[in-house]
């Protein structure tokens, strides 16, 4: 209740008070900075967060100076195992117009077992061509330090499958992996089409594993309504994703891999967060029968300028 009241208070501040908050931030000590950080989080941003997809990346980069907070959750109910909720908290920062940097913190909860922090991922995306083309490539490089209990399912590679989720969660196996992606993305008449080719390697000496993700989406309305409205069609984006593994260096192909088809829908609240949901259907016996993904993203404009009180 107290938390709720505080949130309401911050949302009701006018621009002068908000300016004072950021001025306070500039001169405050670490504890104050933490409070400032919380204030910035609840201060309404003006740009909407982008994520239309859960697995597939597009060529759309974070605007420079903006910080996006997002959660990406995946919940599954394997027949022979315990239901789980894998979660990734994402901090995405636009370093340059052509460079976006991201940190993920992964955790999971499994029914009848426990809740675990399962590791982190740090990734960077670079856009080599600085203008729009029919196909826009983006280069993606990630280092992840997670363990075998991770269930965030941010990508599907190699021979990943439902079998990995049946045994009791344990953190004994470390996965220090490098992941590379070639992201190709196009916009045409309001549609976005994105293809990702994924290569991942455990640096402990396991072979390269491969995967793919393809997605298409479109806003429900291409033109904006002149009126301020929360539930205008332009604020909704619908689409679908197809993703799965392609084996590894020694057994490349579809054998013993898992694949998913998932409709997606995103709701961009004007000057607020973006809510996304995606029910995914497994396409073969090695896949989860059903996965429900959902997420919230919130973008803060020009976060460094605000912290400096400018």
């Amino acid at each position: 209740m107290i938390l709720k009241l505080k949130f309401n208070f911050i949302f009701k501040m006018d621009s002068v008070e908000i300016g004072e908050v950021f001025l306070f931030c500039r001169y405050s000590r670490p504890t104050g900075l933490l409070l400032c950080f919380a204030a910035i989080v609840v201060f309404p941003g003006h740009a909407f967060a982008q994520g239309n997809y859960f697995v597939t990346y597009t060529h759309h980069m974070e605007e420079p100076g903006n910080l996006e907070f997002a959660t990406k959750s995946a919940t599954g109910f394997p027949r022979a195992g315990n239901a789980f909720l894998g979660n990734a908290v994402e901090l995405e920062y636009g370093v340059k117009t052509w460079w976006t940097s991201e940190l993920y913190l992964d955790s999971q909860t499994t029914a009848n077992e426990s809740s675990l922090f399962t590791g982190f991922r740090f990734e960077n995306r670079f856009r080599p061509l600085l203008q729009e083309h029919w196909i826009n490539p983006v280069l993606y490089a990630e280092f992840e330090d997670i363990n075998s209990a991770d269930k965030a399912l941010l990508e599907v590679v190699g021979h990943d499958g439902v079998g990995d989720f049946l045994s009791r969660s344990d953190r004994s196996e470390k996965k220090r992996e490098v992941e590379l992606k070639l992201i190709l993305s196009s916009n045409f008449k309001g549609w976005n089409l994105a293809e990702n080719m994924i290569a991942e390697k455990n640096i402990a000496g396991e072979p390269w594993e491969f995967g793919y993700a393809v997605a298409v989406s479109r806003p429900l309305s291409l033109a904006a309504s002149p009126n301020a409205c929360r539930f205008c069609r332009e604020n909704f984006t619908a689409g679908a994703e197809l993703y799965g593994g392609l084996g590894d260096r020694y057994s490349f192909g579809l054998h013993d891999t898992s694949h998913y088809l998932a409709p997606t829908i995103a709701f961009h609240v004007p000057n607020g967060p973006t809510f996304s949901v995606s029910p995914a259907a497994g396409l073969n016996s090695n896949s989860h029968g059903f996965l429900l993904r959902f997420g919230v993203a919130y973008e803060i404009n020009q976060v460094v300028s605000r912290l400096r009180g400018k």
Partner: protein, 129 residues
Amino acid sequence: MIRAKKTSLLMNLILILGASLLFASAGDGLWMTKVPEKDRARQNPFDSESNAVAAGAKLFRQNCSSCHGSEATGVKNRPNLHSERIRVATPGELEWLLKNGSMKNGMPSWSKLPEQQRWQIVAFLKSLQ
């Protein structure tokens, strides 16, 4: 005390590094020379729609005002859009800029917005003059 100083120093370093990476120079207008002729000559399909300016103003507030200000006068060293350059630019040039950005100068591409919404923003920009 020493710990507080260290934290303060670290925060300053992070801020300085972040700020130096963040802000590119104000628009230099060079982008206009890159616009292909066929794009330059394009007319705004929303010219005849009376609601286009209002819709564009809404989109501007949602997507552009953090850098260009709610009155489009620019924030810090970001360009003031009540300028001669914007006044003389053709609608096609402005739509091209929104689509492609001027990434070397810190202007991101807004290709994530549908073309129709970019034209609505252009209608709003032209109404500023």
